[in-house]
């Protein structure tokens, strides 16, 4: 019987990697495979779902496939380096340290270590699974002998229908914006996400097109110094009241932020996949995005893709999107179609096919 055990540094609720790991475990079990989750740490809510990785040696069986969810540095990676079982990397990308240098040097060191670990594991892995071709290319550069592109398990069905939004939140947002054009970006406040360039764009957009326009930034201020700088910069430009920052939103509140905005704008320099693009498609929000990292492939033509992020170019693109109903309809149609490629059924089937084939190949060798 096929056995695929997953190893993950931390199992957290309402976290993309955590959700992905649990959904995969359920998928493997549903097809009759043996599958458990081993962690360095788990949130109290999920303790019953996981086992500490140090306990794995007592349970190891010949033929086990170990699937490592690589998203941060961890002693789990060191542990797996010493194991002799077949190793598969599921790579969700680790932001290069250069983005944090100067902003948060300890984070730069942390991600540098994490990337070193991934590089070491990649060279020893039998297979690397990446959620985008962009990530697969990184794995190959790390020395991974073979890669497969399988998207992250984003549980689109669980996002609910566009009608299922927090109505109170939507009313509150609607009151605060009035008739202003409203730009939205969802993602942690971090230098690689370039929220400061969204502020620059907003400033020019207000000057050119709509003096009341607003920018909504949703996401935790992971890099505190950068978040402070972005908000201070906005204040310096006279935009303190025009930039809203939402942290700790419930899924229904987040849905309200999507539903009450006019355009999703992404100017990230580095994205390994970018789930918020799928969320924007789900809520029929037109997308204007800078072509960096995995953004072009995730977007798949369902948005206006820019090869420059000069505020003038971005502002003009936003204006075009919010004033052209035909374009919005066509982007919405393309978005819904694109979203169909990421439904959990497709992704689950791909994971089972890829790992099943690997298991069969290993059996043949044995």
């Amino acid at each position: 019987m096929t056995t695929v055990h997953q190893f993950v540094p931390a199992l957290l609720p309402r976290d993309a990697t955590g959700d992905h790991t649990i959904a995969l475990r359920d998928t493997f079990r549903a097809v009759g495979w043996t599958s458990d989750i081993y962690v360095e740490a788990a949130h109290d809510e999920l303790m019953s779902e996981a086992t500490y990785f140090e306990r794995y040696p007592d349970r190891a069986c010949p033929g086990d496939i170990l699937l490592y969810q690589a998203s941060t540095g961890s002693p789990v990676a060191e542990f797996l380096m010493e194991r002799t079982e077949v190793l598969v990397l599921d790579y969700h990308n680790i932001t290069p340290p250069t983005f944090y240098e100067g902003w948060e040097d300890h984070t730069a060191e942390k991600v540098a270590l994490a990337r070193t670990q991934v590089a070491a594991l990649a060279a020893r892995a039998a297979l690397g699974i990446a959620d985008s071709a962009f990530n697969a290319a990184e794995l190959t550069a790390f020395g991974c002998p073979a890669t497969e592109v399988v998207p992250i398990l984003a549980d689109i069905d669980a996002w609910g229908s566009p009608d299922m939004v927090d109505q109170d939140e939507q009313v509150r947002l609607g009151r605060s914006r009035g008739n202003a054009t409203t730009l939205l970006f969802v993602g942690r406040l971090s230098p690689n996400k370039c929220q400061h360039q969204l502020v620059q764009t907003l400033w020019l957009y207000r000057r050119w097109y709509d003096p009341m326009a607003r920018l909504r930034l949703v996401g935790p201020a992971m890099t505190r110094s950068y978040a402070r700088s972005v908000l201070s910069f906005a204040a310096e430009l006279g935009l303190a009241d025009a930039v809203d920052h939402g942290e700790q939103l419930t899924p229904a509140q987040l849905a309200a932020w999507y539903a009450d905005s006019d355009v999703f704008v992404c100017l990230s320099e580095h994205e390994g996949f970018c789930i918020p693009l799928l969320e924007a498609m789900h809520f029929d929000l037109p997308i204007v995005a800078y072509a960096a990292g995995a953004v072009p492939e995730t977007l798949g033509g369902a948005g206006v893709l820019l090869d420059s992020k000069r505020p003038s170019e971005v502002a003009a693109a936003i204006h075009r999107v919010v004033t052209d109903a035909t374009l919005v309809r066509r982007l919405g149609q393309a978005g819904r179609h694109r979203l169909g490629s990421f439904t959990s059924g497709h992704v689950r089937a791909r994971f089972v096919a890829v790992l099943g084939a690997l298991d069969a190949a290993q059996m043949a060798v044995r």
């Binding site: 240098e101 100067g102 902003w103 985008s132 071709a133 592109v149 998207p151 400061h196 502020v199 620059q200 400033w203 020019l204 000057r207 050119w208 110094s225 700088s229 972005v230 201070s232 910069f233 310096e236 430009l237 072509a291 072009p296 492939e297 977007l299 798949g300 033509g301 369902a302 206006v304 893709l305 820019l306 090869d307 420059s308 000069r310 505020p311 003038s312 170019e313 003009a316 693109a317 204006h319 075009r320 052209d324 035909t326 374009l327 309809r329 066509r330 919405g332 149609q333 393309a334 179609h337 694109r338 169909g340 490629s341 497709h346 089937a349 791909r350």
Partner: protein
């Protein structure tokens, strides 16, 4: 600005490449046979991008986007970034931070809300003092060594900066360089002929009044230009030509590698400082697609003083290169010269008829004079990127 064509990962059978029936789009084209497959969608988005680009050009031309505004916005944000990202201007301030943090205080605070807490903390501090003190002493010694070394480095950097400042040529007053009409120049026809077969975009750097861009466009070439002189490009912009008000270096910064099928370099390229000239030519050749054509116009070194104003002749940071030198430099960048045309102001002296007494002596002198001082005024080099 060309739209980026995304590469889509191989997905399940209902992937994004499957045709979409436009009739189902919210009734937008109900009953229409038009279908938007991936190609149609990409074409449609490319048209949208062209219109967005035109809107930006219109804004620039109307003065809504003053030159340098976007750079000012970037510089403004840097003011809010940590000192380490703000560049050498803050070197001394950053060094002061290092000095300040090089001292480690071993007098650990003992304040506590409980009386016993103060006592216990004081006891720990006293009993551990000899141990912590020994470690901290070495740490502080190391930190001060690093700090001293940084002071030495900063001192050297400042000396170097002042030396470089002293060597920097004076700035040319605005408008001191004369600008011709490239569309009617002797080399325009050569440029057009070498670029007429290109299919992708062709950029003319320092395009002046845009007349060469106009000539290329009328020949069916997808040409556009950049020039920092806003007033000069205005008439061309009004005529609907794609001319942007920015420097060639600024523009090339945002162009993707291998995105252009042709580049025309003229104007101040010939008298840029060697560093800037190298940077420009490296960027330009990098932006050129394999098989793309580079057209380079320059004065000859012999005619340099003749072709420019006195201010430019005296104060320009660089001097023109020979066509052979350009050929050598470009070959190192994977670009090979295919043709060199000479033209422009030619003041070569005529040779005497050999039958005239003493003609041999005079003609020998004429040869020397022609070669050293009076050769053809300009050349046009046409090259192709091979790799």
């Amino acid at each position: 600005m060309p739209a980026v064509t995304p590469s889509e990962p191989e997905m399940a059978s209902t992937g994004p490449d499957a045709p979409i029936d436009a009739a189902v789009v919210d009734g937008e084209t109900e009953g229409s046979p038009v279908q938007l497959d991936a190609v149609g969608r990409a074409r449609y988005l490319a048209e949208v991008m062209e219109e967005i680009d035109a809107e930006v050009r219109r804004r620039r031309a109307s003065g809504d986007l003053p030159p340098g505004l976007e750079r000012e916005l970037d510089e403004m944000f840097l003011e809010f970034s940590p000192l380490g990202l703000q560049g050498k201007a803050r070197l001394r301030e950053t060094l002061a931070l290092v000095d300040g943090s090089a001292y480690v205080d071993i007098s650990v605070p003992v304040a506590s809300q409980k009386k016993a807490g103060v006592y216990i903390k004081r006891l720990i501090r006293k009993s551990m003092g000899w141990y912590i003190g020994f470690i901290v002493h070495q740490l502080v010694k190391f930190a001060w060594s690093v700090s001293r070394m940084l002071h030495v480095v900063v001192d050297h950097v400042e000396v170097l900066e002042s030396t470089i400042d002293a060597l920097r040529p004076p700035e040319l007053p605005a408008g001191s360089a004369t600008v011709g009409d490239p569309g009617t120049a002797w080399w325009a026809e050569h440029a057009r002929a070498s670029l007429s077969a290109t299919r992708g975009r062709v950029l003319h750097g320092e395009c002046g009044n845009g007349s060469l861009v106009g000539l290329l466009v009328s020949a069916g070439v997808d040409a556009y230009g950049v020039d920092p002189a806003e007033l000069m490009i205005e008439p061309a912009v009004d005529q609907g030509l794609d001319i942007r008000s920015e420097s060639m270096l600024d523009h090339l910064e945002v162009v993707a590698d291998e995105a252009l099928d042709g580049i025309v370099l003229s104007g101040s390229l010939q008298w840029l400082h060697a560093n800037e000239r190298d940077r420009l030519i490296r960027m330009a050749t990098g932006r050129l697609a394999i098989g793309g054509t580079l057209v380079l116009h320059s004065s000859t070194p012999e005619a340099w003083d003749r072709g420019v104003t006195a201010l430019v002749a005296d104060l320009a940071p660089g001097r023109p290169l020979h066509a052979e030198t350009w050929t050598h430099l470009l070959s190192g960048l994977g670009v090979s010269t295919r043709a060199v045309h000479v033209g422009g102001d030619d003041r070569r002296l005529q040779r005497l008829d050999p039958s005239v007494p003493g003609a041999d002596t005079v003609n020998a002198a004429v040869e020397v004079l022609n070669e050293l001082l009076l050769g053809p005024g300009e050349f046009l080099l046409i090259a192709v990127r091979d790799r």
